[in-house]
């Protein structure tokens, strides 16, 4: 059981906002930032820049089995690095548009990356059909494209099941599709309207969607998060929302969601599951309320604890022993000072959750 108010142990900054993070080993993080890829030593609170994309880095992942790690970016590229030397070893222009999210299967054999550009398909800005495969599954060791799977753009979140047999992807419209990660057969699909806004005022277009996906430890459920619908999509004041779905049912069924009174307002874009203690964490931005990271029981969905970090959280990680929770993200980019410098605005924090 995590504490209701986890105690912060470490807090330090990176030059630009951290948009993604992954464990490289005990005490060492890989951070995907607006300006590139960094290795971060948590104990020393130090960082070292490894490389960059032609745009923001959207995802990072480690593949220690192959002695590699990866980054994906808004340039649509997938980049491999040697774990020991940090040298780039392979680059793959996987998408014509951005890689919104990327994940490595738990067995480290597969990489999945999702893309898709939301373009007007009708007078009310219904999404146009995809112009390229929205989901690619790639061999982690060779970079060979194994599967190209269809979806409705933009597809913003992807996750593998714990047994590495299934890959799930969610989009802006709240549509989730799950495929057999080996054969490409679609095994489930449904749409939830609860994460997407269509602007009654200001903006006649769709906005929001599913920003993170995670399978439950036994792979029977799929967790997703984002923000509830808004009357004004520019307000960013939708409900902080997670949902849990039984995707194996004949017709996928919603099992649970953020309980009434246990959320504030703001976009949630990070999910992490801590299987040993039986809870999960959801994080993002605080627009209204008292928390931007919530800890919830896997059994009953009840809120167990929370953090009000004071910055946008983009990724949550748990240490192997379950005693630490790492939050990464970014503050708003500050204005330049009198000397033309911009203060560091990427954030890394370590919390005690033992």
């Amino acid at each position: 059981m995590p504490p209701a108010s986890p105690n912060r142990l470490t807090d330090f900054k990176l030059p630009t906002a951290v948009l993604a993070a992954a464990w490289l080993g005990e005490g060492e993080l890989l951070a995907g930032c607006m300006d590139g890829v960094y290795r971060v030593d948590l104990a020393a609170a130090s960082h070292r820049k490894i490389g960059s994309h032609a745009s923001y880095v959207s995802s990072v992942a480690a593949v220690p089995r192959h002695g590699q790690y990866l980054s994906a970016g808004y340039d649509g590229r997938l980049q491999w690095y040697d774990l020991a030397s940090d040298q780039p070893t392979r680059s793959l222009d996987l998408h014509r548009f951005w890689s919104w999210d990327m994940a490595v299967s738990p067995d480290q054999s597969l990489v999945a990356s999702v893309t898709g550009q939301y373009l007007a398909g009708g007078y009310k800005y219904e999404p146009a059909p995809e112009r390229e495969p929205s989901v690619r599954v790639v061999a982690a060791d060779t970079g060979e494209i194994l599967l190209s799977l269809p979806h409705v753009p933009s597809v913003q979140a992807v996750a593998f099941s714990h047994d590495s047999q299934f890959v799930a992807a969610g989009n802006l419209m709240g549509e989730v599709r799950i495929w057999n990660a080996r054969t490409g057969e679609q095994v489930a699909g449904w749409t939830t309207p609860d994460f997407t806004s269509w602007g009654i005022i200001k903006s006649h277009c769709y906005l929001g969607g599913i920003f993170a996906l995670r399978f439950t430890p036994d792979d029977s459920g799929l967790l997703m998060c984002g923000m509830g619908p808004m009357h004004d999509p520019m307000a960013g004041n939708g409900r902080q929302l997670w949902q849990r779905w039984d995707w194996r049912a004949d017709a996928a069924a919603k099992i649970d969601e953020t309980h009434e009174g246990e959320s504030g307002e703001g976009l949630m874009e990070a999910l992490a599951v801590e299987p040993q203690a039986g809870f999960f964490a959801m994080g993002g931005r605080l627009r209204g309320g008292n928390l931007n990271v919530g800890l919830y029981g896997l059994a009953d969905g009840g809120k167990l604890g929370s953090v009000k970090s004071g910055y946008r959280v983009t990724e949550i990680l748990f240490s192997t022993d379950g005693s630490r929770m790492i939050l990464v993200g970014g503050q708003g980019q500050p204005d330049q000072d009198a000397e033309g410098r911009i203060a560091d605005f990427g954030r890394v924090e370590v919390y005690d959750i033992a």
Binding site: A17, M34, Y74, F97, W98, Q117, Y118, L119, A120, G121, G122, Y123, K124, Y125, A128, S154, L172, G199, I200, I201, K202, S203, H204, C205, L207, G208, D232, P233, M234, A235, G236, G266, L267, R285, R287, Y311, R312, G330, Q331, G332, Q333, P334, D335, Q336, I342
Partner: protein, 344 residues
């Protein structure tokens, strides 16, 4: 914006707009009227001035049309509810259409014959004009102007029917409301309207979700502007039609915590093409990060002096407003940006 990049020889771009208002209502007020408010006097909006100066008041086709996809719109809603034509009078106000503003009840019911309809209108016009003259009623004058406009609209309702536009044109412009409204604007200008304002500003108000919005907005704007400019040129209309792509201010060059950009009036850009405008010209500039204007700043008065001059309207003219104070079309003796003008 690759499509617009291919026709930049037709655009003049101002990279050094530097204005005061940082909130929507005030910004729209200044950047559509040309000057800050001076209560209780209401300066007419640009479209009203152009309609008055260049339009035909007795035309059945509305001279000033606002195509607007959003009936609401926060601060813009307040602005829309305001007095657009100002001291020029209601006859120079816009006809609003598009999106949820489909013009209702514009067709004559079959139960009323054309003769009956004409007789009823003649009686209404006689009585209300008599009332207007006897009582010197500005309100009655406004009602009469509105009835005259409705009469014109009834005769030109097909002009507003998107379904009557060529399918190939509709496909080229794209399916979204903004794209269809831009095509409709071309159609209205071709058929006698003088000024069409195609509103699409609020989706750009990206305090949140900058990337998620721009993935859709930028390619749409790129295509719509390119289609419109090319169409006007192909039809021999570009030399007589001024296209202005602008907002009421810019956005911060940095991202906020909500992955968005906030209001920023210190340094922003706009583009113009067509009538009186020299293409392939860039005016002014900012520092490397876009934080401030570093050369040739342009304010709202200079912008309006340039627009009026490009259209052949004297920016220095005084309004003839009877007992009101003296107002100029552009205050402060602001000079047009001659580098942007073909006459310059």
């Amino acid at each position: 914006m690759p499509q617009c990049a291919g026709i930049l020889d037709k655009f003049a771009i101002i990279r050094s707009m530097k204005t005061e208002p940082t909130e929507h209502f005030q910004g729209i007020d200044v950047l559509t009227r040309g000057d800050a408010p001076r209560p209780p006097f209401t300066r007419p909006i640009l479209g009203s001035v152009v309609a008055q100066q260049l339009g035909q008041l007795d035309s059945p086709v509305p001279q000033f049309v606002l195509l607007d996809p959003c009936p609401e719109g926060n601060e813009f809603k307040s602005f829309k509810a305001g007095n657009w034509a100002g001291w020029l009078g209601a006859e120079y106000g816009p006809v609003r259409a598009g999106g949820a503003y489909a013009i209702p009840d514009i067709l004559r019911p079959e139960s009323i014959s054309e003769v009956d309809h004409a007789d009823r209108e003649a009686l209404r016009a006689f009585l209300s004009r008599k009332f207007e003259n006897d009582q010197k009623s500005a309100a009655a004058a406004g009602y009469n102007a509105a009835f005259a406009r409705v009469k014109g609209l009834m005769s030109c309702a097909p002009l507003f029917d998107l379904d009557r536009l060529p399918e190939d044109d509709r496909r080229r412009y794209g399916p979204g409301a903004f794209a269809q409204h831009a095509l409709l604007a071309r159609h209205l200008i071709e058929n006698g309207s003088t000024f069409v304002m195609v509103a699409n500003g609020m989706p750009w108000d990206n305090h949140v979700f900058q990337h998620e919005m721009h993935q859709m907005l930028v390619p749409e704007l790129d295509n719509v502007l390119a289609q419109l400019i090319n169409d006007l040129e192909d039809r021999g209309m570009l030399d007589d039609t001024l296209v202005i792509a602008m907002g009421e201010f810019g956005r911060t060059p940095w991202l906020n915590e909500a992955r968005g950009r906030d209001h920023f009036a210190k340094a922003w850009s706009l583009a113009m093409a067509g009538s009186g405008i020299r293409g392939g010209v860039v005016h002014g500039g900012t520092d490397e990060r876009g934080f401030d204007v570093t050369s040739d700043p342009v304010d709202n008065r200079q912008l309006f002096a340039t627009i009026f001059t490009a259209l052949g309207i004297d920016p220095t003219a005084e309004y003839d407003l009877g007992d009101l104070p003296t107002f100029h079309r552009v205050e402060g003796g602001a000079e047009p940006l001659m580098s942007l003008l073909k006459t310059g």
